[in-house]
């Protein structure tokens, strides 16, 4: 280990946005844990209110500030860290480090960059320089040229020939490739590209649209030892951003020779750049003639590395953190699951298939262009794990739907020309359209030609249709149920096909011994296993999972990320899990979001990656017999169905149904309170605003600012009113009382609502008290009223704080518009300054 390193500044990922969600924060938490274990003091800069990582560092090591070069510089000059870590902060962190390198701040302050050597940072962020390095390694590269003006761009594109791809150099956001079919498209793309590039430069390159996209995730130590963690195969071809593509791991349509060539190339590149930690290498493959290109090298945590970690059970971020400290892979011990020593060196071998399907925000932002292309539009994703490709695909589809009933929407209303058009220009319903096209008799060759998707997947989809047909035409037949479940159909889907209720389906299953078998998610394909903590279900012979304890709590994760309060739900879930542990419960989480911090294995005793749907939940209940089921946020359908079956369900924060009372839809002041049986604890009074000023509806309130614009007398009036109101209206949990003000007149009460998930995260940061844990303790009946009475919250504090929602409009290429709470993709907080932050 490198003893020179005592203090490391970690650059956080900032607010979640299209391109990164909770995976950066989840990785950050693991890195912090590893650093602490090695006696290192981690400092963290981030302004994401939904960061769990911020909860895991001491307040003195926490810098709640926007991730900018200036802010990072100030921290460096004040705190003198020995090293800085850019690998859990996404593209933004890389861009900040690059700036600090260029202006000499890192060298002047003797700060070492971990993971990525200085020159490599410059190279990976500049396609031109990347190409020249790749050329040196002997990797085939794509014809490309850098341009700084529109004229140059037009000339270069003409000489390469359309279609071309435009990539901004050193972009501030993750929008890496724009496909242009014509000069008009080029001009628009280059103009946008210049605005994203720190150098106002773009690269124009030959289009490789239609190629197969494959990604490898590897780790490397400072000695040059490397382990290949996973190969990720994009089912959709290049032309659809890999973040918007369906992805499968392990790779299913690559030959050994192809795969090994990619492995050798990735390792050679890692050596050339001298990376340590985790690297995600992107390739484009042409099948005929066989040829491949390296399209991107990302030596840091991202959605690819989190998928690889989730699919294999290999704790990538934790291992990488140790490697940054110059530990060798031979020395890193994974959590104690194997009987041999060099556990971090085991190359994962899988006996299951994982499929990732993205989730798009088009329901909440209906005016966005819904076509999928080279610019990423999805805001989340969900995975399905199975023992067959069919099972993995079906589970992923089931989890990616918005309907709570575990049924798939029908595409049968589409006309044939719409089908053709959507095959060529895919939209978010792509997978359902592919199924519909097959159902209508399109041939595999035809579909491969139109979509550039490997024929293997059409064979699989056709098989799904065949199974569906068989199940549908054999209502109540145990054999049909067995086949359906075996290939991944949910009980809800089968109930719908048979026109019966789900309990009928389940009782046929029980009566005929068609029971789920849980299989471990671990990296040795069953060869060296002791006891994994991650499981998925299938319907086979052997079940490996058994009841955890007689005091288990089951927590239902939120599944794939969507716009709205979901951005904070994962944070909320993770904090809940910590408290449940502290309260002495064993915990089981069900979730399907590979980026979720709440799925990190150290948070829970058991993780089950299965659709969070009624049938699957009841399977888990039958296995675990939980004493309690917690639902973070609310999922009305599931909650209702579970309660109807007499399961002990607790919704946190306490349910909204029947608890909101609104006199008008307009408010300017919010007073958040924590209410127990005997006490009312005022937490924060704040101004409630829209993104552009006064909010005319509650749905527009996406900005909270404290202290509230009320005079001391008005504040007293608020508090008096709140006490009075809550004395007569029995509530527990967290509530927000809403008011309007007019000059120095007494505030006018306009309503009450449960405190939003996002607001709770904000309140945690403002008060330094973890209100999520309070809510959990309250739900468990563990609240100590004496302690509540002693809570010392300075409601009259003049410390300034603000939380502001962020929106995906720019990335969805929409003009600025007034954002609604249902459209928030993330949020940022700031303290001490009310100045509007520069819009990046």
């Amino acid at each position: 280990m490198d003893n020179a390193i005592q203090k490391i500044l970690i650059i956080g990922g900032g607010p979640t946005e299209i391109g990164h969600e909770t995976e950066l924060d989840a990785a950050c938490v693991q890195v912090i844990q590893a650093f602490k274990k090695q006696g290192i003091r981690p400092l963290l800069i981030d302004n994401n209110p939904f960061s769990s990582a911020l909860e895991s560092v001491q307040p003195t090591n926490m810098f709640i500030q926007a991730v900018t070069a200036d802010n990072v510089q100030r921290i460096i000059e004040k705190e003198h860290p020995d090293a800085i870590l850019p690998t859990v902060g996404g593209v933004l962190a890389i861009s900040v480090i690059q700036e600090l390198q260029e202006n000499g701040v890192l060298a002047d302050n003797n700060v070492q960059t971990l993971g990525i050597p200085g020159n490599a940072i410059m190279d990976i962020n500049n396609p031109d320089r990347l190409n020249s390095v790749l050329k040196h390694v002997g990797v085939p590269i794509i014809a490309s040229e850098t341009v700084g003006t529109l004229d140059e761009a037009v000339n270069v594109a003409a000489s390469i020939g359309y279609p071309v791809i435009v990539k901004p150099i050193a972009p501030r956001i993750d929008t890496n490739r724009i496909l242009c079919e014509s000069e008009a498209e080029l001009i628009s793309a280059v103009t946008r590209g210049f605005s994203w590039s720190r150098f106002k430069q773009c690269v124009i390159e030959q289009s490789i649209v239609g190629y197969k996209e494959v990604e490898l995730v590897s780790v490397r130590d400072a000695m040059g030892t490397q382990v290949l963690i996973a190969g990720l195969e994009n089912i959709d071809p290049i032309g659809i951003h890999s973040g918007d593509s369906m992805v499968v791991t392990p790779t299913l349509t690559l030959s050994n020779a192809e795969y090994q060539e990619l492995r050798d190339t990735a390792f050679a590149i890692n050596n050339q750049f001298n990376f340590t930690g985790v690297v995600h290498t992107h390739f484009a493959l042409q099948t005929n003639p066989e040829n491949f290109y390296v399209t991107k090298v990302t030596p840091y945590n991202d959605r690819g590395t989190s998928l690889a970690a989730c699919a294999t059970g290999y704790p990538i971020a934790y291992v990488a953190a140790n490697l940054y400290l110059n530990q060798r892979l031979t020395e890193v011990r994974l959590p104690d699951i194997y009987h041999f020593k060099q556990t971090a060196l085991l190359e994962p071998s899988l006996d299951h298939v994982v499929v990732r399907i993205p989730i798009w925000p088009f329901e909440d932002v209906p005016n966005a262009d819904q076509h999928l292309g080279t610019v990423m539009k999805s805001v989340g994703s969900t995975i399905g794990i199975g023992r067959s490709t069919e099972e993995a695909i079906l589970k992923a589809i089931r989890s990616s739907q918005f309907s709570p009933k575990d049924e798939l929407p029908s595409m049968s209303d589409l006309s044939d020309s719409q089908i053709i058009s959507q095959l060529i220009h895919p939209r978010s319903s792509r997978i359902l359209v592919l199924l519909e096209a097959l159902r209508r008799g399109y041939q595999v060759d035809e579909l491969t030609e139109l979509t550039k998707i490997d024929p293997f997947y059409f064979v699989i989809l056709q098989h799904i249709l065949d199974v569906r047909e068989n199940v549908q035409s054999h209502p109540l037949d145990p054999l049909a149920l067995k086949q359906g479940r075996y290939y991944g159909f949910g009980d809800g889907m089968i109930a719908r096909m048979w026109q019966v209720d789900i309990d009928t389906v389940r009782s046929i299953g029980r009566g005929n011994n068609i029971l789920p078998t849980y299989k471990g998610i671990e990296p040795s394909a069953g060869e060296l296993l002791k006891s994994p903590t991650g499981y998925y279900s299938t319907f086979e012979f052997e079940n490996e999972s058994e009841q955890l304890s007689d005091h288990t709590v089951l927590v239902l994760g939120r599944g794939g990320n969507q716009l709205g309060p979901n951005a904070s739900a994962d944070y909320f879930t993770a904090e809940m899990l910590k408290q449940l542990h502290k309260s002495g419960y064993e915990t089981v989480i069900m979730n399907t979001n590979p980026n979720a911090g709440s799925l990190t294995s150290m948070l829970t005793d058991k993780q089950i990656i299965d659709p969070v749907q009624l049938g699957d939940i009841m399977n888990v209940i039958n296995m675990e017999h939980p004493v309690r089921i917690f639902v973070p946020g609310n999922r009305h359908f599931l909650t209702r169905e579970l309660r109807r079956r007499k399961f002990p369900v607790s919704v946190l924060p306490p349910d909204q149904e029947g608890r909101s009372e609104l006199l008008t839809d307009h408010a300017t002041i919010g007073l958040d309170l924590f209410v127990t049986e005997h006490h009312v604890v005022p937490i924060l009074a704040s101004d409630l605003r829209s993104d552009e000023g006064i909010a005319t509806t509650l749905a527009q309130i996406t900005l909270m600012r404290a202290p509230a614009s009320v005079n001391p007398q008005q504040l007293s009036q608020l508090l008096d009113h709140a006490n009075e109101y809550l004395a007569s209206h029995k509530r527990t949990g967290m509530v927000q009382l809403l008011y309007t003000t007019n000059g120095s007149q007494p505030p006018v009460f306009v309503g009450v609502r449960p405190t939003r998930l996002t607001t709770i995260a904000f309140l945690n940061k403002v008060t330094g008290i973890n209100w999520v844990r309070m809510l959990v303790r309250q739900a468990l009946g563990e609240i100590d009223e004496d302690l509540i009475a002693k809570l010392d919250i300075d409601i009259r504090s003049d410390r300034r704080s603000q939380m502001r929602g962020t929106f995906p409009f720019k990335q969805l290429q929409l003009p600025d518009q007034l954002g609604l709470t249902t459209q928030e993709v993330g949020a940022r907080i700031s303290f001490g300054t009310l100045d509007p932050e520069p819009d990046e």
Binding site: P250, Q260, T330, Q342, E347, D351, R387, K519, E527
Partner: protein
Amino acid sequence: MAQRFLILEDGSAYPGIGFGAGATTTGEVVFNTSMLGYQEIVTNQIYHNQIIVFSQPIIGSIGISHDSYESILPTAKGMVVRDVTDISKNRQRSLSLDQFLKQHNIPGISGIDTRHLIRQLQQTGTIKGSIVDVADDHAFDQLHATVLTNQQVAQVATPRPYPNPNQGYNVVVIDFGLKHGILRQLSKRDCNVTVLPWDATAQDVINLDPDGVLLSTGPGSPLDLPESVLDMIRTIEERIPLFAIGLGHELFALANGSEVKKLKLAHHGANHPIRTIITNEIIYATEGQEYVVDPDSVDRDRLITTYVDLVDGSIQGLRHRDYPAFSVQFFPDGAPGPNDSVDLFDEFMETMGTRE
């Protein structure tokens, strides 16, 4: 597709769906944890008389390809898989895994809980099994009564010499059940190869005046081969650069006084880290072994250990102290598996180049 069964010596029966040939076969049941390369695996002659359980859940998804044969006439006794897809990708669209297995009379069985089976095999160790239509007493009686040959090498090795002409070093390959990856690597390095049958004598080899000799991979136990093979090795290693792989490595160890023992459980996979002792470098390579060199028996005055598997501690490579002769237990040619150790063939070239 009809229901068929995999039955094991311990009395267990696994129902599944048949694919490939409809033959009833018996063999040793082994499992392979490689992530890809089913064609290379099933055509590797080390699986002669064996039924292979695949941990990779999806088999058949890329069909059968002309450049993935490790032998032209595979002699495995079966494939046991969770899921098989019937796809042809060659130019005629004419050869899927299913058709290929039918042509070679190899049965397959899908729909098996292979993860469970693999965990089971860890308990029982390598065990005999059959793929049958009906799992009745008769089938089990047949299974118990079947005596598997110990003449595996003679069954699969070439009976006659054949050349693979080129302009470079003159290399003699002794075929114990040669996997084609070895020929491909020698061919890439322009070697003028003559393949000799497994029972070639030292004089047969010397007559061809080779620059180097390669002892190939192959099936079965090195202990079942006659002493004459070891004599041949002892004579050759003194005079000609020697490179031995797999079964060849086990024979090389035996010829130099070491003992070889049977593993309770065969190991087939590419995920174990292997330490290169001299450089401390970690590599990955496909291992496919049922036998292992007993580390306590290695005569340190004659042999140096060069590679060690970090998971099970097994010796994976040896080098002779006095002669230009070295060996590896794993497969440096990949096919399938990583190419991390492919430079061993370059080392072999160098050894031949420095020969007086």
